[in-house]
């Protein structure tokens, strides 16, 4: 055995890089350097193998001690009448302290994924839905329809972990049928291990409202006079409607971020109401996928703490607090107001923040808790390396005490 092996330690971890929260990650840690042994997932590698950034708190770009930076942040928050806490890329534990501080400073809150999250929330608040979760999909789904998404761009291991599995309790996993509807979709993940190819119905993203409306009407048993919709034959959609009706447990999936057009909520509602119609005679469920930067978690926690969901309306503010724990590439939204940033690295900023305080990343530098994208499962995140920066909660508690 070589010495490198002797010095290495291994750790099981949970990956917060996408909404799936894969908790079967195996890390090899050698002298604080982390390597992902399993799985072979680009997002997981990017998250766990990111270099540890050594930096200091800064005031207007100049290094400052933590105490002075905190003092400066307190002064800006005291002077503000309506601060906005934005980004909100953190976990439940971080958000709890952030919420308390928002209450004390009369701040509004908005998550970086507010727009895509709203597309789903508007459907929930208008009509509700019938949904399912990933273990049900893994063991039960005999048909999967992906609307306007390949899923894997957002959730790279979706097919590996939940579709092409060795053992499923209630269906033949290899025999599952996969259907994609949309444009420029990477459909290779939908090929079964035995080589069975998925059905692909090509249509432009902007035509999805029409296509999903037609599919919904066909499931409802309506007769349509036209023979084509968005360049697609009605017959092809009719075949999908029949397959969904014959399936024992059809799953209708989408990723809100991929439905980036005005009133996408109406398209999502076509999908969810199709599932509701199918449930009159067979079983089916809708499934919203994607998820990042703790968006599901932050929305859930905000809802139980305040009684209401977060929204996406533009918020007037006189001071912005930008929080990003997970994605260093997510830059603060443009603002004319004083800017306080809690994050990992400040090197890519277009505008120098008035105060920058580096924080630990949950799941890497400290423990944490996140919700999976399907909403029912909550998983602990583990500290994987010695932290060089304090946690968001630590910093916020100090700020709160000085306010």
């Amino acid at each position: 055995m070589d010495s490198a092996y002797l010095n290495a330690s291994t750790l099981n971890a949970t990956c917060p890089a996408c909404g799936l929260l894969c908790d079967d990650v195996q890390l090899e840690i050698h002298q604080q350097k982390i390597q992902v042994r399993h799985p072979n997932c680009s997002k997981t590698k990017l998250f766990f193998e990111q270099a540890q950034i050594v930096t200091t708190p800064k005031i207007s770009g100049k290094p400052a001690s933590l105490q002075v930076a905190i003092y400066q942040a307190v002064q800006l928050l005291k002077a503000a009448k309506a601060p906005l806490f934005a980004g909100l890329s953190t976990d439940i534990l971080g958000f709890r302290t952030l919420y308390n501080l928002a209450q004390k400073t009369n701040a509004s809150m908005q998550h970086i994924n507010a727009q895509s999250a709203q597309r789903n929330l508007r459907v929930l608040q208008s009509a509700g839905w019938q949904t399912t979760t990933l273990t049900e999909v893994k063991n039960r789904a005999d048909l999967l329809v992906c609307f306007g998404t390949d899923i894997v761009t957002h959730n790279p291991r979706f097919f590996e972990r939940f579709i092409w599995v060795k053992d499923a309790l209630f269906c033949d996993a290899d025999g599952r049928e996969i259907i994609y509807i949309g444009e420029n979709i990477n459909t290779s993940a939908g090929i079964s291990p035995a080589g069975k190819k998925p059905t692909v119905l090509a249509c432009k993203t902007e035509d999805l409202p029409e296509v999903t409306a037609v599919l919904r009407a066909l499931i409802q048993g309506k007769t349509l006079k036209c023979t084509q919709v968005a360049g697609m034959s009605i017959r092809a959609l009719y075949d999908i409607a029949i397959k969904l009706k014959q399936a024992k447990y059809g799953v209708l999936a989408w990723v809100a971020k991929d439905l980036n057009f005005p009133h996408a909520e109406l398209t999502i509602q076509n999908i969810t109401e199709s599932a509701v119609l199918l449930n009159q005679t067979t079983r089916a469920a809708s499934l919203a996928l994607g998820g990042s930067d703790g968006d599901t978690s932050i929305n859930y926690a905000h809802t139980w703490l305040s009684g209401v969901t977060l929204n996406d309306t533009p918020i007037a503010h006189d001071c912005m607090v930008w929080v990003y724990s997970f994605s260093p590439d997510q830059l603060p939204r443009a603002t004319q107001s004083p800017l306080i940033v809690f994050g990992q690295d400040d090197t890519a900023f277009e505008r120098v923040p008035d105060v920058f305080i580096p924080i630990a990343t949950p799941g890497l530098d400290c423990n944490g808790t996140l919700f999976r994208v399907d909403g029912s499962v909550t998983l602990p995140l583990k500290k994987c390396r010695d932290a060089t920066h304090p946690t968001l909660s630590d910093i916020l508690s100090q700020i709160e005490m000085q306010l």
Binding site: I92, L93, E136, N139, G307
Partner: protein
């Protein structure tokens, strides 16, 4: 250092004290004997003429976890009702709050302001337990706890289908209690939530789940036996099959029969006491249910009273909630299959006093309260928020204690419903002592909370002080004082100090080799690791706000 509660009129059914004038001394969060050295008393409250009870305990209220949070997300319009001071329906009074989906902070505050010092979430899906504890951890003022749902989960149903021995079942049940940090076991529509996933739309007590070929009766008997053999104090918490369906009283009676003489708790029994008589084929079977409860001393029940106004129903019973979704008001609902574990259904509801069925539901609940003789075996609940928000308890207490008030309310109901109820012939009025039993002593005894629900030496110093007044609604809505763990936290119905309660659990011993089978199962079929399924004590108590109380189990 010692607080003296002087000359209060004590209602402490656990010690058979029915309105006796006594002194109580509090020290370090507990009730202590009279100090030998009176100079140690640093604070005295003169409670002459005041009614003193232990803090109330809500043994069934959906205060934490996925269902209620989905309801909050789906129904932003409910938050408008927070500011309502006018009654929404003419039968209600200003004390009836119609905020069915309070935030966690509001939940804790509204409970403690009514003198409640503990509430139990009755339907924790094991896979969702971490979420439930996160929410309860953000609920201030009161103690919390929950019942873990089993009986629709694939692992249990497979054990049953394979005719696994009772010991294997017992180990799995105990393991689940530990993993979910719960204090009891609940079963919702036994086998039915699972059956719905296989497209079965109804399931009777002796009908088989199509996939596993096991019946609700077998599920109930096996789980009930496990709970009993493990020495878990809280009897199996049963939400019967056929919730809300006309004629379901027979299922409820048969479920009592399936208990085989073992303790069993039937929850929100109002929703399970419906007959099929009359022109509308919907009638009260409260008399039959009450008669059976009176006869079967091993059965307990809570009522799940409905009160009129807007609320939302949140249940694990996807099979029946899917049927109910057509009555949703406002017209939206969520039905969810969850993790081969269970499911949830959230359907908003508006109970109207001029609607025949709703009016009769109201009457059926009260008929049950008044016809069940033993207050130790019937509990005051609205199945919050399913029958009504918990904030309407003072109103409900007045309905039980004040026959004139009750009959005046009844006279305003849908006339056809009035014709189908014998409510006005029931003359019973609950006494303060009986209210103290059903909301304190009885609830603590049922759940197995050794130190709560009574005012004996050594008890947790959770105490509520009321002004005795004829309007029982006003009295119970606004206590003079509430003490939580010996600290004054509410004065004149308003919170004066924010505190954080504990989480009550039960942790019976079990054979840890149960994890071998579970581990294989998780690796093959689940989507998380077994270790991550289990909630550690630290997750609840780490931030210094929470604390776990492990209540002793019965000796076996």
């Amino acid at each position: 250092m010692i607080t003296h509660l002087k000359n209060g009129t004590i209602y402490d059914p656990a010690h058979q004290k029915n309105g006796v004038q006594e002194n109580i001394y509090l020290f370090q969060g507990r009730i202590v004997p009279k100090p030998l050295d009176p100079s140690k008393i640093t604070q005295t409250f003169d409670l002459t003429g005041k009614v003193v009870m232990a803090g109330a305990i809500d043994m069934h209220s959906h205060i934490g976890g996925g269902k209620i949070n989905i309801a909050r997300m789906m129904l932003p319009e409910f938050q408008e009702t927070r500011g309502y001071s006018e009654p929404e329906a003419h039968i209600c009074t200003p004390n009836c709050s119609h905020n069915a989906t309070p935030s966690t902070t509001d939940t804790g505050f509204r409970y403690i302001e009514m003198g409640y010092t503990a509430a139990f979430e009755p339907a924790i899906l094991p896979i969702n337990a971490r979420h439930a504890h996160l929410e309860m951890g953000d609920t201030p003022m009161i103690d919390k706890g929950g019942y873990a749902m089993l009986g629709n989960d694939d692992y249990f149903l497979r054990l049953l289908a394979q005719k696994a021995d009772q010991k294997a079942i017992n180990d799995y049940v105990a393991w689940t209690l530990h993993a979910t940090q719960a204090i009891g076991i609940k079963v919702v529509n036994p086998g039915g939530i699972s059956a719905f996933k296989f497209n079965q739309r109804r399931l009777d007590l002796d009908e088989n789940n199509v996939h596993y070929q096991v019946s609700p009766r077998e599920i109930l008997q096996t789980l009930s036996r496990a709970v009993n053999e493990l020495g878990i104090a809280k009897p199996l918490h049963v939400h019967c099959n056929n919730l809300g369906a006309a004629g379901n009283f027979q299922t409820t009676l048969d479920t009592m029969g399936a208990s085989d003489g073992l303790p069993m708790h039937l929850t929100h029994i109002q929703f399970h006491s419906y007959g099929t008589e009359g022109d509308k084929k919907f009638s009260s079977a409260a008399a039959q249910i009450a008669e059976a409860l009176n006869k079967n001393q091993h059965i307990t029940a809570d009522v799940g009273q409905i009160l009129f106004g807007q609320t939302v129903t949140a249940s694990g019973d996807t099979m029946m909630q899917h049927l109910n979704a057509k009555h949703a008001n406002p017209k939206k609902s969520v039905i969810m299959d969850i993790e081969c574990d269970a499911g949830c259904g959230v359907v908003p509801f508006k109970y109207r006093d001029q609607n025949y069925v709703n009016a009769l539901q109201w009457a059926i609940g009260l008929e049950l309260f008044l016809s069940v003789e033993d207050p130790w075996r019937i509990f005051l609940t609205t199945d919050h928020p399913n029958g009504a928000p918990f904030t309407s308890y003072p109103h409900l207490i007045r309905l039980l204690m004040d026959k004139t008030f009750r009959n005046e309310a009844f006279a305003k109901l849908n006339l056809d419903a009035q014709a189908m109820s014998n409510l006005t012939s029931l003359n019973r009025e609950y006494s303060l002592y009986e209210i103290a039993i059903m909301t304190r002593a009885g609830a603590a005894k049922l759940i197995g909370l050794n130190d709560c629900g009574h005012l004996g030496i050594g008890a947790q110093a959770d105490i509520t002080v009321y002004t005795d007044q004829p309007d029982r609604e006003t009295m119970f809505a606004k206590p003079d004082y509430v003490f939580k763990n010996g600290e004054l936290v509410v004065k004149n119905g308003k919170v004066v100090k924010v505190v954080w309660g504990a989480t009550h659990t039960a942790k019976p011993a079990f054979d840890t080799s149960v994890e071998k089978g579970l581990s294989e199962y998780f690796d093959k079929f689940h989507t998380i690791q077994l270790d991550n399924f289990k909630i550690t004590d630290d997750e609840i108590s780490d931030d210094g706000r929470g604390k776990i109380i492990s209540n002793t189990t019965k000796s076996t």
